[in-house]
Amino acid sequence: MVNKRYLARRFLLMVISIFTVATILFFLFRMVPGGPMSAIMSPRMTEAARQRVIENFGLNEPLWKQYLLYMWQLLHLNLGQSFYYGQTVKTLILDRFYNTMALMLTAFLISYTVGIYLGAQLGWIRGTSKERAGMLVVLLVRSTPVFWTGMIVLYVFAFKLNLFPLGGMRGVGAQYSGPVSKFLSVDFLYHLVLPVFTLCTYYTGLPLLLMRNNLLEVLSEDYIDTARAKGLTNRRILFRHAARNAVLPVVTAFAIAIGFAVGGQVLIETVFSWPGLGREMVKASLRSDYPVAQGAFLLLSTIVISMNFFADLAYTYLDPRVRLGGT
């Protein structure tokens, strides 16, 4: 189905993109006022101590040598050490990355499933008062700032009704043997409910409206008349013929959304005290913890670039007309 040579070319392009982003990030962080060392060097350091620190980090070397070193380390997936935590950047951001993905992936999967389904239904009943009411609700929810919804949700369900925890990712004293037991524990899922719910109210809007609009377009196509003339049930016409075609652009939107989801929702992570990558990136920037910020940005770009790649691939399976790279 997918042409192998095209696949190789597309993959190479992806690698080049990531390499370019890494290069830009490297020089960008060397251009930051104060330089990378300003955060960990105090004015009270002696000149000798200063030199020692600079040498330790290899900052006395010429820039091109530093760059080659950085790239060499990157190939070994070594992203350096956090100035602030003292941990390796890899351990740190991977941990935050998993937290973020647990939150965002859950939210996106629910949002896109619900959004696609409701969008198809709304498009189908176009022109009825039910549809108008539905659209009003969707637009209202979609336009509500997500941090505000978050605070209201917290106030009602956590503070007033005491049904859910106020924030964080785990209860006091909770211990896990590994990542699997951590993300599948009842305690974790319990903490996940409110932030995911809040995110869903916001993220459902896009796939829903996209799906509805695509469906309206598809419904005027001749093959829908064909399906009706064949005497198929409405359900079959809607899901097998109309929605199946209307869903294609939503797939692209989903892949791109997942890419950006890695960056997390800083506002939501803040409101719900979620130890995710978005919040960590903001903190790292404020603390001038450059290795962490640089690593996080690199991870973010890599995921966005690879999700685009996967969106292209997904298209070839969903739409037989798309044969990547010709014959």
Binding site: D222, Y223, D225, G231, D319, P320, R321
Partner: protein, 361 residues
């Protein structure tokens, strides 16, 4: 594999399809628009009936009304459509679904987008079969292969997607799908419009052969009078929602009574090649949101008089199975003589221009 449709009590004496006083309206922001106005026609068994007219004359709306495919803002406020005596306009969706494809099939502009682009052609045909018959997928696929051969396509390619077919092949595939359940009547809406002349000819020939071999009646809807001339036994000429002339093809083509039919004949090259000089009818059809008082064709008709401005003329019998809607049947010989003359229509063109293009935007 024909099965009797047990749910319906067909009247064997009734014509295959009969439209009587059929009116179709669309509710739009500009108000109620009458797209088809009081149209009556009959289609018999083993017949190819043609509906011809310019785009927007309501001919496709007739097809949609028959198959219950009108858009949600469309309705049939009066008139009736009877299939073997069964009133189609009163059927519930579920009842209509039982008739669709089983008895009444559609041939759409298959060359364009009438086949679902993301499904294999075999899937779409099997779906049509299984929606009506309780057969296994293997049996339905066998039938599909058979159908491919019937329409002159290679059965090996039935698992292709529509985009892998050329326009003519897609049209054939669509016809194969229409034949899947051996229907009684097929409505072909512009079946050859996107095709080149050679392929068009092949498709029309195939349709005629199918009528002869399988005894399927066909309604062909086209803007191209030469398509109709080649295939139909009987036809209706539509203009602005009205039936202008109706009856036997031979009578209408040899002895047309309506000035609009005369104009249409001029505007298309005859396949016999007698006349290479094309004369178009000046102006354009009236906006159905703003119809003229009298005859719909009056503003473009070189033979119009004051009498034509009163009310649209009724369909008047002018022969055995031949009717025309015009007030000037008395001068029909003069009309036939002058209609072939470029001057007749040119005179009108200058008038249309002088009055600021009446009926035109």
């Amino acid at each position: 594999m024909k099965q009797a449709n047990a749910n319906f009590d067909f009247d064997d004496d009734a014509p295959l399809l009969e439209a009587e006083g059929l009116t179709v309206s669309y509710s739009t922001s500009e108000g109620e628009l009458i797209a088809v106005d009081d149209v009556s026609f009959t289609v018999q068994e083993d017949e190819i009936f043609g509906l011809v007219g310019e785009s927007g004359c309501g001919k496709s709306t007739v097809a949609q009304a028959v198959l219950g495919l009108l858009p949600t803002n469309g309705a049939v406020p009066s008139g009736s459509i009877r299939f073997r005596g069964i009133e189609l306009t009163e059927l519930e969706k579920r009842e209509l679904d039982a008739l669709r494809w089983e008895n009444l099939a559609l041939i759409s502009q298959g060359a364009m987008n009438a086949l679902n682009p993301v499904q294999r052609i075999s899937t779409q045909i099997v779906e049509a079969i299984q929606a009506h018959r309780d057969v296994s997928t293997d049996e339905a696929r066998e039938r599909t292969a058979e159908l491919f051969e019937t329409v002159g396509l290679d059965p090996e390619r039935m698992d292709d997607y529509p985009h892998q077919f050329s326009g003519g092949m897609k049209q054939r595939a669509y016809i194969a799908m229409s034949l899947a359940l051996d229907p009684d009547l097929i409505i072909a809406d512009e079946p050859t419009t996107a095709l080149d002349v050679i392929v068009q000819d092949q498709i029309l020939k195939r349709l005629k052969e199918l009528r002869d071999e399988l005894g399927i009646s066909v309604i062909i809807i086209s803007h191209d009078i030469s398509v109709i001339a080649e295939t139909c036994n009987r036809l209706g000429v539509m203009y602005s929602g009205k039936l202008m002339e109706y009856g036997n093809l031979k009578d209408i083509f040899e002895n047309p009574y309506n000035p609009y039919t005369l104009g249409l004949q001029n505007a298309f090259p005859t396949l016999r090649g007698e006349q290479s000089d094309l004369i178009s009818i000046p102006g354009s059809p009236p906006d159905i949101a703003d119809l003229p008082e009298g005859c719909r064709f009056m503003e473009r008709c070189p033979f119009a008089t004051a009498e034509c401005g009163g009310e649209h003329p009724p369909l008047e019998s002018v022969g055995d199975d031949h009717a025309s809607a015009c007030y000037r049947h008395d001068i029909v010989d003069e009309m036939r003589r002058e209609a072939g003359d470029r001057e007749t229509w040119a005179r009108l063109r200058s008038e249309v221009v002088a009055t600021g293009g009446a009926g035109d935007e």
